[in-house]
Symmetry: C2
Subunit: 278 residues, 2 copies
């Protein structure tokens, strides 16, 4: 990897406890893009789509299903996670989807390479989201689109409101920003797009959500967070910052497990979504 | 109106500055219901739908368009707002939609009257949401559905983050609960449904959002809040509670106006949505 001079251009929480990433599909994470994607694919079946920050690849491969005659390229900084992504693509038979390492600050493609450039929950982890967005626009063809979905971390909405979960929520916000990320990424997307050179009339915004309330979803979401608090980077960061002691973290992990079992439990959060027509 | 013995069963902010209510349609406020509604209408074209807390009637009339051979009844406590609703129904030619006054705690209908019972942002204003939900279930036919959408007021997500808007957001949360409402209504919907006697397997949850980022939406939303802060019930309550002085409120009203003009502005919030199959 070339040295880009940017900080925080990796995925801070780490890829250890990311079972919940496998819940992610084009349908539940990029629904706002699908009507436009389908329309573009009708006009040009051999579309080229770039998915930046592809991670475990479940969104990339499900986007690839909408482009049976097109090509999807998934890029991520982490070679490790891309091995899982490639294996997943093979398992689901996504022959038109391949993966390669790369930094969003210096994408290994010439100007105007892709018809669609997509990213999901990636800019929120960066210290220079506007520079990253400028790079996404650079590799997009004229007439193509950039498609971005970022959460507003401040909008985590859950029930039951277990006191330890409320404490965890505060820690999550504090550690995310301390590590260089942006909690309010979703609502800033138009602002970032304008700073990256787009004009307002090129941008449309929607807002979407996640909702986990069924047993399997709750189990995966609750267990992933319990593990991340107990032994992952979020827990470590909280200890380093003096925001929690080991015993507090254990209590929070148990609260996530209790949440996952609660009959009336739900979790949701908001995501800003923009399409930029280049 | 019969005395129901329940408090806070009216619409606290008042119906004075509700231009933004007219933005509301079945498509942007009840999208989660539409596939089920269309399926039910295919099986039984003469469906009876009740919309409780119908207000200015824009959701009721747009739901009525999905039931050309069915009937929509809109109920609200306020005779005044129902006059606007009836006028709106006439303007848009919704002949299968009529309105009548009624309290959600004591709906003027026998058990099992309606195939679909819908409400939007109503339970969040009540002091006894579970009793209201029990009443919604009572008037629903066996095999019918109750369809509820309630916001989580804590998830207001806006940009730019003008300091006066952030202060307003805190006042909005404080006054809403002080007046007997529930800020975290959306995430409690499953919990309330279980308390009202539903079984978990009868309930499905989704989460939706509003997003205002285009000029007309921003103008209507920003202006409505500016008026409510300047001369409406929210401002009065804030003064009564000692949360703000007249000059603070004026600053907040101006911030809403500034927000409405900002090129990069957006507003969003989460809504919990449930369908209960009776």
């Amino acid at each position: 990897m070339a040295e880009t001079g940017k900080q925080h251009n990796t995925y801070l929480p780490g890829h250890k406890d990311v079972k919940h990433h496998e819940l992610r599909t084009a349908e539940n994470c990029a629904a706002y893009l699908l009507p436009t994607l389908q329309m573009m694919a009708k006009e040009n079946p051999s579309l080229a789509l770039l998915d930046v920050g592809a991670g475990s690849g479940t969104i990339s491969t499900s986007l690839a299903r909408y482009l049976p005659h097109g090509q999807v390229t998934g890029v991520d900084l982490s070679e490790d996670i891309l091995r899982s992504a490639a294996q997943h693509a093979e398992e689901v038979g996504a022959k038109n989807c391949h993966f390669q390492t790369g930094s969003v600050y210096q994408l290994p493609f010439p100007d105007g390479t892709f018809d669609v450039v997509h990213t999901h929950q990636m800019l929120c982890h960066l210290d220079s989201p506007v520079e990253a967005l400028t790079e996404l626009l650079r590799v997009t063809k004229r007439g193509g689109i950039v498609s971005i979905r970022e959460t507003d971390m401040r909008t985590w909405s859950f029930w039951p409101m277990l006191p330890a979960l409320e404490r965890f929520f505060k820690i999550q916000l504090a550690t995310h920003e301390a590590a260089g990320g942006t909690n309010a990424a979703g609502p800033q997307l138009i602002s970032w797009a304008l700073k990256a050179g787009a004009k307002r009339e090129q941008v449309t915004m929607t807002q979407g959500s996640w909702c986990y309330s069924e047993p399997v979803e709750k189990q995966i979401w609750g267990t992933s967070w319990a593990q991340r608090v107990r032994a992952g980077e979020v827990g470590k960061k909280a200890l380093d910052m003096g925001l929690a002691k080991k015993a507090d973290l254990e209590e929070m992990a148990q609260a996530w497990e209790e949440w996952a079992q609660a009959e009336d439990a739900c979790f949701a959060c908001l995501h800003g979504e923009i399409l930029i027509r280049k």
